[in-house]
Amino acid sequence: MTAQKPSAGGARARKRFCRSAKSWMGLALVGLMLGAALAADWVTPYKANQTSTAAAGEEHLANHRRPSRRHWLGTDANDYDVLTRVIYGSRLSLLAGGVSILLAVSVGAPAGIAAGYFGGVVDAAIMRTIDIVLAFPSILIAFLVLTAFHNGWTPVILAVGLINIPIFARQVRAAIMTVRDLEYVQAARASGASSGYLMWRVLAPAAVTPVIVLATLGLGSAVIEVAGLSFLGIGGNAGDAEWGAMLNEAKDHLNTSLWPAIGPGAAISLTVLGFNLLGDSLRDALDIRLDAR
């Protein structure tokens, strides 16, 4: 964790970031997926829930078509074009992952700042709560949340957001602790700044860089977690064009064809790889040490 204010060494960090091949590969992959999500309506030749039989005006219903010029990734058990669904799926997957990380940051960061600033009882209360949450493997927490609600995407987002809160709270607290007793903070305190001002304007900036890095890495794991829950069939909606749900459906037809699984599986892997590459190179460029846990 750098003790300086984040602006110091910014140019050097940018240079380091631009020089690394990792960051460019990460940017390219993430950009590709974001582009697919935004442009889905224009780049897909079919609709998400349109059988290729209907699209071609054929009479005989066929499914599990092999990849061809018309269907680059083949068609699935319902004869939907896999590539089309993968592209549309990027919307749900990225959105669900993004919103849940946003949720985790907006709860975890203030909690971490409060714990680091107030210390004492507040710190103990917040950190012990987090210890309890961390005493569960994350998927169990998701199970508890999902048992409570019926299917749909909101519970999935809630669950994934919830399991990511401790990561941000811990890291933000650690960042605050390193700067809490530095001169610029003491100066602000001595000049009579209020608690709110100290927390949000003086201390919080120290936590911005680790949060950016963690959020980037977290987006990758959130995408996997969302897909995992819908793959298990305990979250989301089964028929939706979403990567995890698509894999779940493909799993039942493995004897017939692996193709319907390749598209969504590769999409998840590449998205996560992209966020991991980006997060790694951001971490290296900004020279941040993250807690291995």
């Binding site: 005493a135 305990i234 493995l254 892997s269």
Partner: protein, 333 residues
Amino acid sequence: MTRYLIRRLGHAVATVAAALLLVFLAVRVLPNNPVLARYGQHATPGKVAEEMQRHGWDAPLATQAWRFVKGLLTQGDLGESFVLNPGESVASILSRTLPATIELTLAAMVLAVPLGVSAGIVSAVWRNRWPDLICMSAALVGVSVPVFFLGICMLSIFSNMPTGLRIPATLDYEFHTGFYLLEALLRGRFDIFAIAVRQICLPAAALATIPMAVIARITRGAMLEVLSADYIRTARAKGASAWRVVFRHALPNAAVPIVNIAGFQLGLLLSGAVLTETVFSWPGLGREMVNAVKSSDYAIVQGGALVVAAVFVLINLVLDILYVVLDPRIRLS
């Protein structure tokens, strides 16, 4: 040391107790009703009320909590399944499924630790050269490919490999425990052992990828830090062989973070196993819990969550103690 142990133990017990309370409340405040889940549209108001009363679910929360804790502490009673296997006690479900999960998890660790540590050492020794590049790229891909996709691909490629845990009836062998591998080995039934190994291969390999990748990355980092230390330069200057420097001087000093992350991953595998078990139809606790969540069988979710949380806390406790034993410099604060 004793004081540290006692305090750490107290902390662990408190965490499990809090987890227990949390699970209990989470399962109780749910809007879903277990009776409705079981009887569906056949549920009449009278029947619902009767079932609720029979299970004591109409009592105030505090009373229910007290009964639950009392039953758990005095008889190890975790309630009984209501929807999935009506009437079977959760304790029996756990003893049926947990061993399969433990064996799978340990098998994955047996693969992940040696391979991950070796890859990390190779990367650190040949830093920024092609072995490093290959190992670290593989590690990055390893953490990025979701285990359920990997599992699906494995199933499709090795479609002749058996999945799930089944011993052919022709062998005429009855297991006395859920630990198939261990039991077969201890009883000297190597034919059964071979079958069990064959069946655990694929799921264990799929489950091992993420811990392997993470261990490789941590090992590399720890080794790089140690290899730049003064005493390593001294060892080299004395003329110690490269082999000796790496394995005698560097590796033991890099052990703390490696052991730490390996143990932590072991805990995580318990949850990773949920996905792997589902893909490979492995009859473990994870798959059972997924089914329980799907059918709103709260008692199983509750019991399973408790056991997994307790194991998780236990692993962390052992790790913290190991930490102090491995590195005397760590203050017992």
